[in-house]
């Protein structure tokens, strides 16, 4: 191709076109999702600053505010872990970490997705390439998982630095649990976002009536069972509560509540897998109509 000085691209070769297609299709069939992830990360550069601020700035603000203020005020142990009494900061830290992963999905699995279908229409461009719709959604999710892992790892380093983790060794699994919580919340949201053809402010509603209540009613700032039973169901349905409870178990060395860790984990997995299946279906339906 480089031999053409005119700048006109090379014409087709004489090779058998069917054979050429079969060869050229093999690599994208395997790695299509990776190319989508590459593109997604490149797009994230446009708001890299927001990502860093959310990853480091926001935890710092919470930890300083809660650590220096609220935790100093609540100067008694709030729970009993296997390793002894638990301070308020140690109680809140796993919840903050998990909510950071869930918060990421409020952007990546909402407006970004709607834009990919509707405003910037990126997905339609990908769709015309060898990449399959399932790979498009796979690549997007993979890219976001990496972002959630990096963010929660940074969060973890910070909470350890603030002395907010009872056992930093088992607690080191918290980023994985937080990310799973992010997926349990985010993948159903992704499926919903992919189904939206008209922007009627649905995501602002999700923010107001799903995300914010979850944050407040998921045993984030006080144990869930302090609330009346008729409000506790919000926590039971909340990926944030389940991820937080697992995170607390990892930090304290024993489950903080009556529910075994395995149950929390199973609920998160079911939510994530259901969301994943639905999201794949929506992408295929939308892009292959």
């Amino acid at each position: 191709m480089s031999t053409h000085t005119s700048g006109t691209p090379a014409g087709p070769t004489t090779e058998d076109p069917t054979a050429r297609a079969m060869t050229a299709g093999a690599l994208p069939r395997r790695l299509g999702w990776w190319y989508v992830a590459e593109h997604t990360w490149r797009a994230m550069r446009a708001y890299a600053w927001t990502i860093v601020m959310e990853g480091i700035g926001q935890p710092l603000v919470y930890l300083l505010g809660i650590g220096l203020g609220l935790a100093a005020f609540i100067d008694v142990s709030v729970a009993d872990g296997a390793n002894g009494p638990v301070t308020y900061l140690e109680f809140v830290a796993p919840a903050l970490l998990a909510s950071s992963a869930i918060g990421i999905t409020m952007g990546e699995f909402t407006y970004v997705v709607m834009s990919g279908f509707k405003w910037r229409r990126l997905y339609w461009g990908m769709n015309a390439s060898p990449v399959q719709p399932q790979q498009i959604v796979g690549g997007i999710v993979f890219a976001v998982v990496v972002r959630m892992l990096l963010t929660t790892i940074a969060y973890y380093v910070l909470i350890v630095a603030f002395g907010a983790v009872v056992d930093p060794w088992t607690g080191a699994l918290m980023p994985l649990v937080g990310t799973l919580g992010g997926l349990a919340f985010g993948l159903p949201l992704l499926a919903y976002a992919a189904s939206i053809t008209e922007d009627k402010g649905q995501f602002a509603m999700v923010q107001r009536f799903v995300f914010t209540p979850l944050f407040l009613f998921s045993g984030t700032f006080y144990p869930l069972d302090t609330m009346p039973v008729w409000l506790q169901w919000i926590g039971w349905l909340s990926p944030l509560w389940h991820a937080t409870e697992i995170g607390r178990s990892l930090s304290y060395g024993s489950p903080p509540g009556a529910w075994p860790v395995g149950v929390h984990l199973a609920i998160l997995l079911v939510m994530a897998v259901t969301g994943w299946v639905l999201a794949r279906r929506m992408f295929v339906k939308r892009l292959r109509g």
């Binding site: 191709m1 691209p9 087709p12 076109p17 989508v36």
Partner: protein, 307 residues
């Protein structure tokens, strides 16, 4: 040689609506093939089926000898697609758009980069390589989309209304680029509702309306078959056109009465105009021109191509 695209009874339905209604056509390698038709004719739907992104409801389709239902990725690896609506990534720079897109075909990054530079030259966008896509004019965006579609050195370039919405000068620049590709032997499949575009670019075309093929042939053959050599366009004022047309009965091979003018199909327009004047009819304006695909379309469907 087997055709690169072969459709038989190709059909697409959306619920009750039949968007593509059993069409047959073949495109041999190296041909420039056009789908000409008005809004809603089913052009884009047909393109999407060929592009292996929309499955057919009935009929048979082979692209490069492969069934799109089973071999979508393989087929798409050999296509360049210029969609009706641009979907460049506005957040990325012009050159980045090409590189990112090349990756979707599994092309190594270094190859993408060198091809991107060549394609920017081809699309006359070298100066814009580091600009954001949003800074480009409509015509430049269209050229970038074409450059992007060429990043995988496609066998078949599919263009859905490549020049709709562009000014005449931008259209000519684009046609020139497409000509070069055609000369190189790239198979072009394009849709348009501009007959001049079809005449310029297509070796052969089908006229589609309501999802059906109304006629097929080269632009000149279609004109020969469905229209006379020349057309006299007469305007008598909108309320008098019909009345005048009645008096002109039998003077031309065929007469079409449109709301704003009367079209008289004949081999010698000037001679006809003289006979009209001899009759004592005085059109407010008159014009003799060569027949075009517009006339073919009018003849076939009784409607204008562009409303």
């Amino acid at each position: 040689m087997t055709p690169v695209i072969a459709a038989r009874g190709l059909t697409k339905t959306f619920g009750d609506l039949t968007a593509v209604d059993g069409i047959d056509f073949e495109v041999p390698a190296g041909e420039s093939f056009g789908l000409l038709g008005p809004n809603g004719a089913g052009k884009s739907t047909t393109m999407r089926m060929i592009g292996a992104v929309s499955s057919r409801s009935a009929g048979d389709l082979r692209v490069l000898g492969l069934d799109p239902d089973a071999h979508g990725p393989e087929i798409r690896s050999q296509l360049g697609v210029v969609p009706q609506e641009d979907n460049l990534d506005p957040e990325l720079k012009v050159r980045e758009n090409l590189i990112v897109y090349g990756r979707y075909f599994g092309i190594p990054r270094a190859t993408c980069a060198s091809r991107a530079d060549e394609l920017l030259t081809f699309a006359q966008l070298e100066d814009k390589a580091r600009n954001k896509v949003d800074d480009l004019s409509g015509g430049m965006k269209r050229r970038l989309t074409i450059a992007r579609a060429l990043i995988n050195e496609p066998r078949i370039l599919m263009l859905d209304e490549p020049t709709t919405g562009l000014d005449p000068q931008a259209r000519h620049v684009l046609w020139d680029r497409l000509f070069r590709l055609k000369e190189r032997g790239t198979t072009l499949v394009l849709t348009t509702h501009y007959m001049d575009e079809a005449e310029q670019l297509c070796d052969r075309l089908v006229v589609v309306d309501h999802g059906r093929i109304m006629a097929e042939g080269s632009p000149s053959a279609l004109i020969r078959q469905y229209a006379s050599r020349e057309v006299a366009e007469l305007r008598f004022g909108s309320d008098r056109n019909a009345e005048a047309a009645a008096r002109l009965e039998g003077m031309a091979e065929r007469i079409e009465v449109l709301p704003d003018r009367v079209l008289l199909y004949t081999d010698d327009g000037e001679a006809l105009l003289e006979r009209v004047t001899d009759l004592g009819l005085h059109p407010t304006t008159s014009l003799v021109r060569r027949s075009s695909l517009e006339d073919v379309f009018l003849r076939l469907t009784g409607r204008s191509l562009i409303e």
